[in-house]
Symmetry: C2
Subunit: 425 residues, 2 copies
């Protein structure tokens, strides 16, 4: 909804004010329906509620204040862009993936119809001038993880100051060498943009900051192995989503405080649902704010989501960067090693992901896996077929869902998910 | 149709004989309708008619004879796999892309529904056991040019002896280094498979053989700038298709003989259609045998196709390899340079392709460009949008078609193409 406190700022960012007000209205209603309606939530979630209510307000104001102090704002779309380098250049690192069906018609004038909703959304948000994060960016960093994004950045690059990192498609030594050179190129680009030299000291501090954020999220996710689960899947997803645009130090402290509460709950065997509630592991494509459709349907069907095997989830936090080395070459190698471990479907083969899903399902005591594919995402659609076979051998049921950001298939999805929950109960 | 001369060979290759007979029946009927019905064809096309009529017969027999003499058969799907290295290892280099809607249902059990027809077709042909080329291969070489193929090779690799080359996605120095290492890895793989060392002498000879093939095809394509065109687009496409599986030396001689005839025709101002017939440049995705649907519709609508800006067309033959260097490192560099010049939509950016389409349209005096996209091919669908804008500035009309291998949209395509031909007349 419209907010007089921020209107002048939004106008300065050249947002389309009526369209942006409409978006905030929908977002507020969604959040009320999907989040505030939950019972037995953790107190610590109030911080997340506040962050989300101020996502286009206070957080954007903080970005403007950072800019006025000379900090640059870097927008990204992918867990492969090393946040550590951004922070070491005294810049702010923000995720720009969007999860709403707004601006899609405009995006479809520039992108093929058969493009996934996430890509249409970030291009559409820019064209419709409704994203204050995009409008705050001094540079936007893309990467060649899929055909859709790779080609969309050519178009997006005509609207923003764009830097595209080339990602390899295998994990060979030659592929690693390519990625290492791209990491160095990003470092140089950041130094040129910000005027700040990335020193060993700054980079080590940034690696520590980002490791701490990932450790807090690992701690949170591990606590979800308890039955009953101390937190809903919706709330956990929201935390993983907020991780992409909140201040990392503040965020880490809040998540650790939340984990303290969760530990108390687990000890008392308290949870958001009754013990024995069917437990589901989400796996597949990322769910960006406010793409809460499938988690909402799932948890309204009498199940609880206990993990997100996704870029907005474990794929982003599984691996830490070695902090031991003390020279720049060693730190860059540590970053390259860490990022090359990511089990993204952009790699061929990507067999380690199959193992990760199985071990997550076992550790989190999931009764079934819900595979989420964004329509037209070929890499994850391909792996869904492979994953189902792997899970069948382990006798773990899987349901593959393909959808976009529209609400047209809500009833159909409900029917399928309810039947799946009934089956695994 | 069934052919008693080859039945034993097909059985030995473990083909599904009834399904294969059915495929040959459809292929024969298609060829009759689309090719033999043409008037004013060049005499030299009889060679191509023969080659096509024997595509699963005599040519497969030649492959078996080659195998019995110790030569290996290498199957490929892409113009990025260096044929020069294959030939230098005394192996036979064959294209396996397929253009028919057979085996699709089987393929869809292993591949996402939203996969392009070309990929479904080569996987389906294998699963349905109807492709004697695939069954003759000692090794199949894939490449990471698009998400669909990259992930499909993981599945295909469970059915055949598979080698996947990693292609870079940009043309940076680091990307070139990656590709160079992949070229060397392919060379080593070939040497291990064949037991033959690729010497400087053999590689120079192979480069010359492949250059000569490409020169003959360049000569053919250049002659199509004449009005009236001395050859139909269907026949020219067939020649580009046959280039992928015929013996290269025999093929080159036949094409040069055909070009001699074409030159005589051009001098006499004779052609396959009247002077002033609307001229169309095809551009976009490859058309593998027997994917003649759109060329047939176009030339039945009163136009003549004067060029194929496609992998099965100029993208395969535009660039030659430097033959001057005399050491292995220099030859490898020459190959790498040649292949990295390819203007495939897998690269970002790929602006040189836009220039190529414009210059081809001008040189060939095309009245319009027909952009052919395989449904779900995101790279070429993205570039179609970009290309239309570039062509609009040049006042060259463009029609973008997206289709698959089914015949269900024939009437709809006819209506659209006829309207386009009427407009550019």
């Amino acid at each position: 909804m419209s907010d007089p406190r921020y209107e002048a700022m939004w106008e300065k960012l050249n947002l389309d004010i009526p369209a942006h007000d409409a978006l905030l209205g929908v977002l507020g209603q969604f959040y009320g329906d999907i989040y505030m309606s939950q019972k037995g939530r953790l107190q610590g979630m109030e911080y997340l509620d506040f962050v989300l209510s101020e996502v286009h307000g206070l957080r954007i104001q903080e970005l403007q204040e950072a800019k006025s102090k000379g900090h640059k704002i870097i927008g990204t779309f992918c867990v492969f862009v090393p946040e550590e380098l951004t922070l070491a250049a005294n810049a702010v690192h923000i995720g720009l993936c969007s999860g709403a069906d707004a601006g899609t018609e405009q995006a479809e004038t520039l992108l093929p119809r058969n493009t996934c909703a996430l890509i249409k959304s970030f291009v559409g948000f820019k064209m419709a001038r409704i994203c204050p994060f995009t409008e705050s960016c001094d540079m936007v960093v893309g990467e060649t993880t899929c055909d859709g994004k790779k080609k969309a950045y050519e178009t997006f690059g005509e609207m923003v100051n764009m830097h595209v990192m080339e990602l390899p498609q295998t994990k060979s030594d030659a592929a690693r060498a390519l990625f290492r050179s791209e990491v160095l190129r990003y470092k140089e680009k950041l130094e040129a943009l910000t005027g700040n030299t990335i020193t060993v000291e700054k980079l080590r501090a940034a690696i520590s900051t980002v490791n701490n954020k990932r450790k807090a999220l690992q701690r949170l996710d591990a606590l979800r192995s308890a039955d009953p689960s101390p937190i809903s899947g919706r709330d956990a997803l929201l935390i993983h989503q907020v991780a992409f645009y909140d201040d990392p130090v503040r965020f880490t402290a809040s998540i650790n405080a939340l984990c303290d509460q969760m530990e108390t709950r687990v000890k008392k065997q308290e949870g958001v649902t009754a013990k024995g509630t069917p437990r589901i592991l989400l796996s597949g494509c990322p769910m960006a704010v406010p793409n809460w459709k499938l988690p909402y349907i799932t948890e309204s069907s009498g199940a609880v989501i206990v993990g997100e095997e996704s870029c907005i989830g474990t794929r982003n936090i599984r691996n830490l960067t070695d902090e031991k080395t003390e020279d720049m070459d060693g730190l860059i190698d540590a970053l390259v090693d860490r990022y090359m471990e990511i089990d993204c479907a952009c790699f061929t083969p990507n067999t380690e992901r199959m193992g990760h899903v199985v071990s997550m399902a076992k550790e989190l005591k999931a009764d079934g896996v819900l595979h989420y594919g964004l329509m037209f995402c070929q890499p994850y659609a391909s792996e869904a077929i492979r994953l189902e076979k792997v899970l069948r051998k382990e006798e773990i049921p899987m349901l593959a869902i393909e959808t976009d950001y529209s609400m047209e298939d809500m009833e159909q999805l409900k029917t399928r998910v309810e039947a799946f929950v009934e089956m695994i109960r």
